[in-house]
Symmetry: D2
Subunit: 102 residues, 4 copies
């Protein structure tokens, strides 16, 4: 895809914020590695694992929202039925992966 189309990806407007969030998540994963290294209590490790999945789910929903409001909105508004059907299929597959209902 061209740079111009790239510019329409919803999340790009808040790229820095997303990278910061991912950076924090990366740090959280590194923290869990340290906990395992230091042989910390299983339940405390599990609490951290759940915190990371929650952070990732929330980040995923943010990107999904931006996707709906940009790519999906654009495809549906374009009048190009095939493009709209494709975006809709992709969106629903993403939601399925999210909800682990494959």
């Amino acid at each position: 895809m061209s740079q111009i189309e790239h510019a329409t990806y919803g999340y790009v407007r808040e790229k820095e914020a997303l990278i910061n969030r991912l950076h924090r998540i990366e740090g959280q994963v590194r923290g869990i590695e340290r906990m395992v290294e230091e042989e910390r209590y299983c339940i405390d490790i599990l609490t951290q694992v759940s915190a990371v999945t929650t952070a990732l789910d929330s980040l995923g929903l943010k990107i999904l929202g931006d996707h709906v409001n940009s790519c999906v909105a654009h495809a549906f508004a374009s009048g190009d039925e095939e493009a709209a059907a494709e975006k809709s299929r992709e969106l629903l597959a993403a939601v399925e992966r999210f909800t682990k209902t494959r």
Copy 2:
């Protein structure tokens, strides 16, 4: 807790394998950062986010299994009812966090 009690944590026996898995997950998160940096397609980013949550869920279940087979088993076998009740409460709270059914 003493080092001796630490040694009973189920996951400790496979510490290296767990750290390797966490290290791979850390790399996956860094990969997502790069995808956002390079303004890759939203759906491809979401696919990677789902892959990381799946990897974390699977790691969490591994640690939970080790926990049941060591700490919980030990508490129930000890005859110490209070310790057993405490382990059971902790376990169920961990499962709740896991299933996001708080």
Copy 3:
């Protein structure tokens, strides 16, 4: 809303199939009641509970898909930005409830 607008709800086209699926789910729940009544083994009951949630998740995704392809598609194609923003907000809230990421 008018009957005419109702007619645009995506799922209405397959109303009978959906009602049949819900009817089967209702029967499954009644089956679990019977299992509890007969004091069946906990794990067997839990397996049935999971089967019902899976069936409901799958039904929900079906309705969500129909919703995207009808109501959301329609709002985005209408050029009415407020209607589109409203549909998008609703859709994302539904996905959040689905993924229990409130």
Copy 4:
């Protein structure tokens, strides 16, 4: 299994409460059928579907908790290692089904 063993299933003590909860869930499913029949708004139907899965998850966790505190506790306390291993395997499989991390 004998009636005597049945009596040890944790949930049996609150059988009536569980059946009442299941009965309410059954009613909720029937309510969704009616909503589809009356061609109600997709998002309102989805909200009800999510309410039912949440109710089922919560019921499942209740039964799981009772199971841990009775069957699993009993097996671990019995000193029968094979029985304990079997209960542990079953428990973790149930948690996996719950978290859809099969």
